[in-house]
Symmetry: C2
Subunit: 544 residues, 2 copies
């Protein structure tokens, strides 16, 4: 048993967070008390912030970078505006583990004092997931484990690059227990809620980032993804999120359990209010040649992809994954976007999952997450005595394929993984048979539906599939749940138990205001192409 | 216990090999009986083959490809010439597991019958390591395990590509027990010896390839490397060999123990009589985009590297690795080549291994080879009852860091590996400090000396170091042991037990005629640069 009660340790972390927020100056005035917060928090910033702060925090990123570079607005003013807006987001969604008031303003002043603006991100405020660590001294991180509260931490390879390019780190954000929920709830910081509807999850595990950016308390943040942890929360909060192919962006220096496990890899990636910020972040991250420092990374520069002009983009629409039928608003989003693509002249076909066995893929994936049966993680929880949360139970103990494996069982599992990857690659290759153009990208749901009510995110297939395959995936906002258009399909007969649970979860009323997003997935290593495809798809949707 | 004695099973494999060689037509005449074979076999082909066969098999590869493409010599005639020369190599060195007489000639006839020559390798005979499998029907492979004799096998991703590009597979070559010796001896096919001196090893594990190519019984072959298995035998047999960064060339489809193990990866690579054949093979292998079929591969085309013209190449010479002092001929080779580089205007500095702890690197590497303590492999040997050979004992049981690990011990080991890789990358980065140009490549020994007497290859550090780091390495011939120039250093005081054994092994007389080669190593992923560097180094040596 722990000597100190876990609640006392957690309280210390919460007090540290609260103390960091208490520095906000001028203090936030006019916010409702928690019990009176509206369901949808998106308008709260306008009620609290100055017009000038609203103007600054709602500028397009390209414009923000331009005014910073041209020194038409000081870095300090921009930083203060985002700090205050992030504080509002915290009240609304509980998305922060720490507001870096002092260090961010000191950094801003330093940047303002430079004779010349320097770096591709000069003066841009960037928010970060807590367990990644941070630039600076006396940094702690706990990765949402009570046992790790007060554990000293350092910076990491990616953050050092962003720092060198002149950014301002100003807020650290929440993640769930074990960092392995598609929601964001921990015994350390409590539950993060969705900016659009506080009865819904912001998703996870990078749910703090998503909620913060969904409130525009940040325009660019860094998440991590091993099963959907960037894409799911980006989708649920109506923002953009990219999970690149692994080993392009460094994770080195992040704190997590299972260090040294390589059965299935995580990756960092950008989460943002705008599409262009995704490629900006990738460009900046890779232009530093991070493989010189983290030699596990692929030595391959970021090379923007130019789509061929002599043929249309070929998009395969995945209407469902053969396991769980998406909710009506998701189907509508797929219809709307694929129709727009067709109208714009693209070659739209179907990504038929029959025979592709996404169910088996999930069983392999879950086993790859916990080749020790979850022993290390459960031990970490036991160490502090903090309760095991339901979604932790779900992802470890309730997965039938998860068990402690010996070395030969591990090799067998990895061989199964590799065989499945080759099998899926072959399915993709076959789209090019008979002289047809190969499918360029898959358009698919990033989840079975919009953000779920709390503790209901128990199906990972729509994101984790692409982690198993290590295919890059980008999520973008499409629409929001519409009670008129998105009525429940009556009389649907679920094809399995998971499908039944998901079907029964839906009613348009529960999902009020919830954003609905889609995902574009490309073959492994085709990160640049996925972003190029997103651009033409959004153009087809009538966006800039 | 095995039902059938292992000797009987091995005999069957030997008989199959002999039957394949008995097809040679016209039969080889005038070869000495085994007891009367000369120490150096390099002149044997001239005593047995026709002038025309010698002419064909000794053409530069570019010329050979040109005459084949222009149909000035038929594929069949070229194939027959190499088949007969390979048969001579077999008598001299015992390098073959099978001569593909029938299928190669039938393939040649097919290629001759095509209206147009097709493919970048049109008509080129290529030899292959036995455990990689083969294109065709009724293929067997045993990977040198008696237990696996008669086991059906198929082709693999790389060989399919070479086949599509018009090559002729004509010979399969030996590898040692477990494919984990730096020599080539197995209970299935016996011992392969060095073309230059039959008392010496050809190296291993791709020793059959090296001996065959060293006899010019093949001009281009495919080996595999996880600890030196391409580079060591290439060095010992005076040929060229490239170990690329892993995951550039596919291994998928090869037969080996420990399938699914990913602690340290092997890679295929070219072994050749000429430098240019290395880039040819890489170019051809990657132009097929093999990552579409083997999705573990890096999606990165082969992009020949152009050395900068505004500064000299910066080469760091590794005189020794801090563990085992190279023999005198190796030191002389380093001196000769580094002097030539200096004269050609290159920036030649030292790669000082002090503080880089190559000894620790080896301990990690050995542990990574056998995270199950070697259990699977030893079980495979026990299954047939075949004896465990001394170099198998050496690489498993005699390595102190090798033991069966549980999952958490495995993760710890992998984390140690990653930390060492980052540490070494940082050392390389530091060569660029203070405004200096970063070191481009390291010039280093591929072994502590020339080919060792049999069963003496017990130090892997000069090659395995670069497997642990996953740095590409290319080996090229430099000189041969010279009793006059390469006298033993008297009075040297070994710094450790391994150093003592290696020191005592040397006397110039034992190494008569042995080739001495060097290795050029680049950073991970810099395969193209390593080959570009080799070209300028060889030019500096006065070669074409």
């Amino acid at each position: 048993m722990a000597i100190e009660a876990w609640q006392d340790k957690a309280l210390k972390a919460q007090e540290a967070r609260d103390a960091s927020l208490a520095k906000v100056e001028p203090p936030l005035k006019g916010l409702p008390i928690e019990a009176e917060l509206p369901l949808n928090s998106r308008n709260l910033p306008r009620e609290v912030l100055t017009e000038r702060e609203i103007e600054i925090t709602e500028k397009p990123v390209s414009e923000l970078l331009a005014v910073l570079r041209e020194r038409r607005i000081s870095v300090e003013e921009v930083t203060r505006a985002f700090l205050r807006r992030a504080a509002v987001a915290q009240v609304a969604t509980n998305c922060l583990t720490s507001l870096l008031w002092t260090s961010a303003i000191s950094r801003a002043k330093h940047l303002d004092s430079l004779p010349e603006p320097k770096g591709a991100l000069f003066g841009l405020p960037i928010s970060t997931k807590e367990h990644h660590g941070m630039v600076g001294e006396n940094v702690l991180s706990n990765a949402s484990y009570v046992s790790w509260i007060d554990k000293p931490h350092g910076s990491n390879v990616l953050y050092d690059t962003l720092w060198d390019e002149g950014c301002v780190f100003f807020a650290r954000t929440t993640q769930p227990q074990t960092i392995m929920h598609l929601e964001t709830n921990s015994n350390v910081y409590g539950r993060t809620v969705n900016p659009y509807n506080r009865l819904l999850t912001p998703g996870g595990s990078s749910g703090g980032e998503a909620a913060l950016i969904g409130m525009r308390g940040s325009v660019l943040g860094i998440g991590g993804d091993i099963g959907g942890s960037i894409r799911c929360p980006a989708a649920h909060c109506g923002i953009y999120g990219l999970k690149p192919t692994t080993q392009r962006i460094s994770l080195a220096g992040s704190r997590s359990h299972c260090a040294g496990k390589e059965t299935i890899l995580a990756t960092c990636g950008p989460m943002a209010t705008e599409r262009d910020s995704l490629s900006l972040l990738m460009q900046v991250a890779l232009s530093s040649k991070p493989w010189r420092i983290d030699p596990g990374l692929t030595n391959k520069p970021w090379t923007p992809y130019t789509l061929p002009t002599d043929r249309p983009l070929k998009i395969a629409v995945q209407w469902w994954d053969g396991v769980v039928r998406p909710h009506p608003p998701m189907i509508r989003a797929l219809k709307e976007v694929s129709e727009a693509c067709k109208k714009a002249g693209m070659d739209v076909v179907e990504w038929d999952c029959t025979g592709l066995d996404h169910k088996k893929a999930w069983e392999i994936t879950a086993a790859l997450y916990w080749p020790d049966g979850g022993e290390e993680v459960l031990g970490l929880l036991e160490e502090s005595g903090e309760p095991v949360l339901p979604l932790t139970e779900f992802i470890i103990s309730e997965q039938k394929s998860v068990r402690k494996r010996d070395m030969h069982e591990l090799w067998k599992l990895c061989a199964e993984r590799d065989a499945y990857r080759a099998f899926y690659a072959n399915a993709w290759n076959r789209t090019a048979s008979d002289g047809n153009q190969e499918v360029d990208v898959i358009l698919c749901p990033p989840s079975f539906g919009a953000a779920t009510p709390h503790d209901q995110s128990r199906y990972w297939g729509y994101t984790a599939q692409w982690n198993l395959l290590d295919y890059p995936g980008v999520v973008f906002p499409v629409t929001s749940v519409d009670p008129v258009k998105d009525g429940k399909v009556e009389g649907y007969e679920p094809v399995n138990e998971e499908d039944r649970v998901v079907y029964e979860m839906y009613s348009p009323e529960r999902y009020r205001d919830a954003p609905v997003s889609l995902q574009i997935v490309g073959r492994r290593g085709c990160d640049e192409m996925v972003l190029a495809a997103l651009e033409v798809v959004e153009r087809a949707m009538g966006r800039a």
